[in-house]
């Protein structure tokens, strides 16, 4: 694999306070990398530094080995899909999509040919004469993507592109975007705060917190082998057991519940059920551990196990291999 973007000890300060502390990162050609984190974690700032809208306070960004610090945004060979799409309201769909080629003075015949290709691709051919105001949110989003990919960028930057859409539409567009990326073979750098979205689409996820990249790995590894306390608690639900200076994280679905009267060496904790939440395919069972103020959460799938009720006394067990040891 070839590195397409290299961040070399990038740092960003705003008015003297550090927003993104120095770090380095390599992004591979053709990969779908997601920057995931809560709002204000610096993920958008990082994306905007790559696009050229923010200047890193120190460090250098390389695109295919060439430093970018002296390259203004309009000369960088990458394109961005903005959060609110930023479609030009005074232009039609067609004019919006052709904007990049026009500015670069690509010849007319090629403009038309690429326009047709892209319109086909995003299925907007019939809406080409409309203005953005006359389009639905999902359609506007397609225009934003079409407007970017018509330029054949080396990297596509996406800043929460699905954030403004409703849940159902978001789900279907996630798959579409993933397929688009596979077919075009363009590197995607995708910013989101939605972990499900990140899990569903990414080759690699960089989990960010307070400007720092906490962990960068495949979705499965992020979920199963979190390296920091933040990742363990931010991604999915988790139970954290603190013992003798070390913390152990165990996912709720890995917890096994047993009736109290059966003695077994598998039982690691005991407690009383305080709440049972029914979610269709799943029940969430909250248990107060004996002799502590701590609650743990266990997931139980609908077709398995015992019909647990509130106030049942239970024993809890899990397999050693499902434990993730973290520093507290």
């Amino acid at each position: 694999m070839k590195t397409i973007i290299q961040l070399d000890t990038i740092e960003k300060q705003f008015a003297g306070s550090v927003v993104v502390p120095p770090f380095s990162l390599s992004i591979e050609e053709g990969e779908f990398l997601t920057l995931l984190g809560p709002s204000g974690c610096g993920k958008t700032t990082l994306l905007r530094m790559i696009a050229g809208f923010e200047e890193p306070t120190s460090g250098e960004i390389y695109l295919e080995g060439k430093p970018l610090s002296q390259v203004p945004p309009y000369k960088r060979d990458m394109n961005m899909v903005f959060q609110q799409y930023a479609l030009f309201p005074h232009m039609t769909v067609e004019q919006n999509i052709l904007f990049g080629l026009k500015m670069k003075k690509v010849n007319g015949a090629e403009q038309q040919q690429r326009l047709e290709e892209v319109l086909q691709y995003v299925q907007l051919s019939e809406l080409r004469k409309r203005t953005p105001k006359q389009l639905s949110g999902g359609q506007q989003q397609r225009v934003a993507i079409a407007r970017a990919i018509i330029n054949n960028p080396k990297v596509l930057l996406l800043d929460e592109p699905l954030g403004a859409l409703d849940y159902q539409l978001r789900k279907s567009l996630q798959l579409e975007l993933k397929n688009l990326q596979k077919n075009l073979g363009i590197t995607f750098i995708y910013v989101t705060h939605d972990q499900e979205e990140a899990m569903a689409m990414s080759d690699r996820i960089a989990v960010m917190n307070k400007g720092r990249i906490e962990q960068i790995a495949s979705p499965a590894e992020i979920y199963n082998r979190p390296q920091t306390m933040f990742v363990a608690t931010f991604i999915g639900e988790n139970n954290i057991f603190q013992e003798e200076g070390a913390c152990t994280a165990v996912r709720p679905e890995k917890l096994k519940l047993y009736p109290r009267d059966v003695e077994s060496e598998k039982h690691k904790k005991t407690g009383r059920i305080t709440d049972v939440v029914f979610l269709g395919n799943l029940r969430k069972i909250y248990i107060r551990l004996d002799g502590t103020e701590m609650s743990v959460l266990a997931h139980q799938y609908a077709n398995e196990g015992y019909d647990w009720q509130v106030d049942h006394q239970v024993a809890i067990g899990w397999s050693q291999t499902d434990e993730v040891v973290l520093s507290c």
């Binding site: 696009a51 050229g52 809208f53 203004p72 945004p73 309009y74 000369k75 394109n79 961005m80 903005f82 609110q84 930023a86 479609l87 030009f88 309201p89 005074h90 232009m91 904007f99 990049g100 500015m103 670069k104 203005t131 953005p132 105001k133 407007r147 970017a148 330029n151």
Partner: protein, 262 residues
């Protein structure tokens, strides 16, 4: 509760009558046959006709229009250019420039008139149309900048960044994205400047020369001599054109940036 709100609405209508009654009376008496104003003696257009036959009035009108046109073009160009450039300056400079822009709006008008009079006399510039144009441009620039800056702020930086991201140089972005989007603001700024110039009395009073009398100055001359139907007619014309211009400007200013026809 009901009684109170009736009293409130009654008072409010009274205030609107207070605001409009004098203007209505002025307009009404511009159509009064009699020269002795207070007695209504029949409808006539004759005062308007006599205005159009009065060479001095026509001269003042032509002065007002030419000064208004030139000063508002200048103010619109200068104000628009400065509004576009201002955000590229450091915050410190932006504050200084903004101070410079807003100060003329907040200080009493008479100050600017007098200060300009001093300037022109120190540099021995003859008072006339040129000094009026300079003065009117100066007080219009801040208004243009206020309108255009508001529109630029409304537009946000997304569209500008999107344009750059798609490969447009700053000049191309200006030409193809920013200017078309702020055009209604530019038109509103121009109309506003024109109105301010057409309507200005206080500043013009100090910087006009004997051969550059504008309509408000001419009206002032007549007012000092007393009430007459000609003044009523001339004032009515000034009121009508001012109000029309302001309403048109306001319509442009309010035009939603998301629905500009292109």
């Amino acid at each position: 509760m009901k009684k109170r709100s009736n009293a409130l609405s009654g008072f409010s209508w009274l205030m609107i009558i207070f605001l409009y009654l004098p203007i209505a009376v002025l307009i009404l008496y511009s159509f009064n046959e009699s020269r002795i104003n207070a007695v209504w003696s029949g409808f006539t257009w004759k005062w308007y006709i006599s205005l159009f036959e009065n060479r001095q009035v026509m001269q003042a009108l032509s002065n007002s229009l030419s000064i208004g046109l030139i000063s508002s073009v200048l103010a619109t160009v200068l104000g628009t250019a400065a509004s576009l450039a201002i955000k590229h300056y450091s915050l410190r400079w932006q504050n200084i420039i903004n101070g410079l822009i807003y100060l003329p709006i907040v200080i009493p008008e008479i100050m600017l008139g007098l200060a300009l009079l001093i300037l022109f006399s120190q540099f021995q510039v003859d008072l006339g149309k040129a000094t009026l144009i300079m003065a009117h441009t100066t007080f219009s620039i801040p208004f243009v900048m206020v309108i255009i800056s508001a529109r630029l702020a409304d537009m946000g930086k997304d569209l500008e960044e999107a344009s750059q991201d798609l490969g447009a140089t700053p000049w191309q972005t200006l030409r193809y994205v920013i200017l078309p989007l702020i055009m209604p603001g530019i038109v509103a700024g121009f109309l506003m400047s024109f109105t301010l110039s057409l309507d200005d009395f206080i500043i013009s009073f100090f910087v006009a020369g004997p051969n550059s009398t504008t309509l408000p100055l001419y009206i002032y001359g007549l007012v000092k001599r007393g009430v007459s139907p000609e003044v009523n007619a001339l004032s009515t014309l000034l009121i009508t054109s001012t109000v029309l211009l302001v309403i048109i400007a306001e319509l442009f200013r309010r035009k939603d940036s998301k629905t500009i026809p292109y």
